[in-house]
Amino acid sequence: MKRVQFSSPLLPYLFLAPQLAVIVIFFYWPSVRAIQSSFYLEDPFGFGSTFVGFDNYLGVLLSPEYLSIARFTAIFTATVTFFSLALGLLLAVKADAVIRGNAAYKTLLISVYAIAPPVAGLIGMMFFDQHIGPFVKIAAFLGWDMKVGLSYFDTAFAMIFVAVWKQIPYNFIFFLSGLQALPASVREAAAIDCRSGIKRFWTVIFPLLAPTAFFLLIINVTYALFDTFGVIDVMVKDKAANNPITLVYKVYMDGFRGNDIGGSSAQSVILMIVVFVLTVLQFRFIERRIHYT
């Protein structure tokens, strides 16, 4: 393989500089500031700040409320990731098999992705509105007295529903293009060897799709942890009350609404560590099993 060489050793750093500047200004610098202020108790206006060591962390980690929010975040992330991946894959496999009018199906499924999360939240909120929501009426018909905004479980259900609905098209696009990139010869050979479509899917097609699925897994976990903020904000209507929220929303509530800078910084550092650990685990244990072609 031919190696590309730069004439001056400084030139590559020059090319990297804009990107590095962006990362430093928008990622490293705020992170360092967050870590720093997580050890202080600070007046929001910046008049007095006292070093308190790990008090902010202890306060957060010993609070039963925080732990219950963390538990919900774990359940929420797992459920949203699982259902949006599973349904996205199912729809992609089915759309891939359609021969007549497949462009129409694909466009219909993909177009939902163009909806911004707060708009999705808004539409979802109307679907689940206590007074006019059609889903609430359907639930009532089935004997489920749904009270989104009042009952913890019902709100959690509605949130997961909207978050999954919003993410399916994204997964669909990737799975579909992944499926279409599979060599036809492999599929045909598999079809000769095995009659069961389901077995063929799990033993041949899915392992070949694994790189796509792994990429989507990471993206979906991040989506459920962070990008669902807009959905949650709209669904709880600015008042979390006894409704379920995720850790990111808690950081926002304490930091931006409650003006508790030290406490919310500690929370965001905890969140950084969680995401870091999660990503390392994913790469160590799952990626090893994946074979890139």
Binding site: L41, D43, H131, G149, L150, N242
Partner: protein, 432 residues
């Protein structure tokens, strides 16, 4: 695109230079929709009335966002001249010594007289320090009042209740007539903060938090407050009270749809209700408990106040004082009162609106002012509690749990008191 943008930039630059003679001052607020437009109209009126100062209002989103932007701007030295801060955020800004210039000092320094007694009773103390000096300039003020579905009361043959005892007696008849007897809109503001003021009960130690942040403790387990929520819960179980979550609109809607007999809303709600309510309605004071000695005192100002931020040149502060003076003039107060539904904050403005027959046409608009003007009690002035937005969130969470059956009233208030006191102790450390 870029061309259009630069043209716009040039035209802005040109207009800026043309008004260079005037001192520019900025006003960040948290109002949107119609209320945001009215703020622009008030600023236009001020700019048209004089030439020395040019006021530019900027909407920063919600109340919380306005406060957060103001804080961030202050930390980087880019603060506006005037910042609107809502009731629950009052302790945050007032306890940050050096963040604001007290409105009363500012106005006096500019050479104006300042008469605290010109303001109506319920407005005077909430944004003032413990000596009664105005730190914030009360701006948009509202009070929790009870709206009455006239049709429902007529059908049930009952009078509007003045006390909760009267409500208890009337509730079965209202239910029989096919209505939900009672719905509220915000349990924290209406049934907690104003419960303490309307029934004249102490809310927190250290004179409701006004005297000091050190060792201030919230009295959430007050037996009367616990009793109020025990009652609400049992009313809910009997079908006399319905709770639709912490969202305001979810609770307002059933009243608009003529399903509810009595709805506790804001004095500012009537403008919207006039358009949306499907039945004739009137309003009366927020009920109190006849059984509590000394109850029936006034409620205090809700809404928000304007704060003059510190670190600004003297000529800009003079302009802010001019504007505050302009804002409290009876004509502007009357205009704002009638355009938004917020109550007039000065006695003179109230008298002016009254003399013009405004309240004969719209009697509901007078209820909030009258409630704020009721005789004050020792504990009806309001509260000054740090990290209060978060304490409210704890209350909202626990109240939700009460009505969804996840906790008991007693446990809920034990939790509120414990977590609330932890937050107050934290706040004392940040402010100390």
């Amino acid at each position: 695109m870029i061309k259009q943008f630069s043209l716009a930039a040039i035209s802005i630059a040109l207009t800026a230079t043309s008004s260079l003679a005037a001192t520019n001052i900025s006003w960040w607020h948290g109002m949107a929709g119609r209320n945001g437009e009215v703020i622009n109209e008030v600023a236009q009126k001020f700019n048209a009335a004089q030439t020395a100062c040019a006021l530019t209002p900027v909407s920063k989103g919600t109340y919380e966002e306005a406060l957060a932007s103001g804080i961030a701007a202050f930390r980087s030295g880019e603060q506006p001249n005037i910042l609107q801060v809502f009731d629950a955020g009052a302790a945050t800004i007032i306890n940050a010594k050096g963040a604001v210039v007290p409105a009363e000092d500012l106005i006096k320094e500019a050479g104006y007289d300042f008469d605290r007694n010109a303001f109506i009773e319920g407005v005077r103390y909430f944004y003032a320090d413990s000596d009664g000096k105005f730190v914030g300039m009360p701006f948009n003020s509202s009070a929790p009042i009870m709206y009455i579905n006239d049709e429902a009361l007529k059908k049930a043959g009952v009078e509007a209740p003045k006390t909760w005892e009267e409500f208890e007696a009337a509730a079965p008849k209202l239910k029989e007539a096919g209505y939900i007897p009672l719905v509220q809109a915000q349990l924290t503001w209406q049934f907690t903060e104003n419960f303490f003021s309307r029934n004249n009960i102490q809310f927190a130690t250290n004179n409701n938090g006004y005297d000091s942040v050190v060792d201030t403790k919230i009295k959430a387990t007050d037996p009367n407050l616990v009793m109020m929520f025990e009652k609400l819960k049992s009313w809910a179980d009997q079908g006399y009270f319905a709770y639709y979550g912490a969202g305001w609109n979810d609770n307002q809607k059933p009243f608009e749809e003529n399903k509810v007999a009595l709805w506790v809303g804001s004095s500012g709600s009537f403008g919207g209700l006039q358009k949306t309510a499907q039945m004739p309605f009137s309003a009366t004071f927020l009920p109190y408990w006849g059984s509590i000695a000394g109850a029936g005192t006034n409620s205090f100002i809700g809404g928000a106040a304007l704060f003059a931020m510190a670190g600004k040149p003297a000529e800009e502060n003079k302009c802010v004082a001019d504007f505050f003076q302009f804002l409290t003039s009876p004509e502007i107060q009357k205009f704002y009162h009638q355009a938004t539904g917020y109550v007039a904050i000065t006695k003179e403005a109230y008298e002016l609106a009254k003399s013009e027959g405004y309240y004969e046409k719209t009697p509901v608009a007078e209820v909030g002012i009258q409630q704020l003007m009721l005789p004050a009690g020792e504990w009806s002035k309001g509260y000054r509690l740090g990290f209060y937005p978060q304490i409210r969130e704890i209350m909202e969470r626990e109240y939700g749990r009460i009505f969804s059956g996840e906790t008991t009233v007693k446990d809920a208030f034990d939790t509120i008191e414990r977590e609330g006191n932890e937050l107050l102790a934290r706040f004392a450390k940040t402010a100390g």
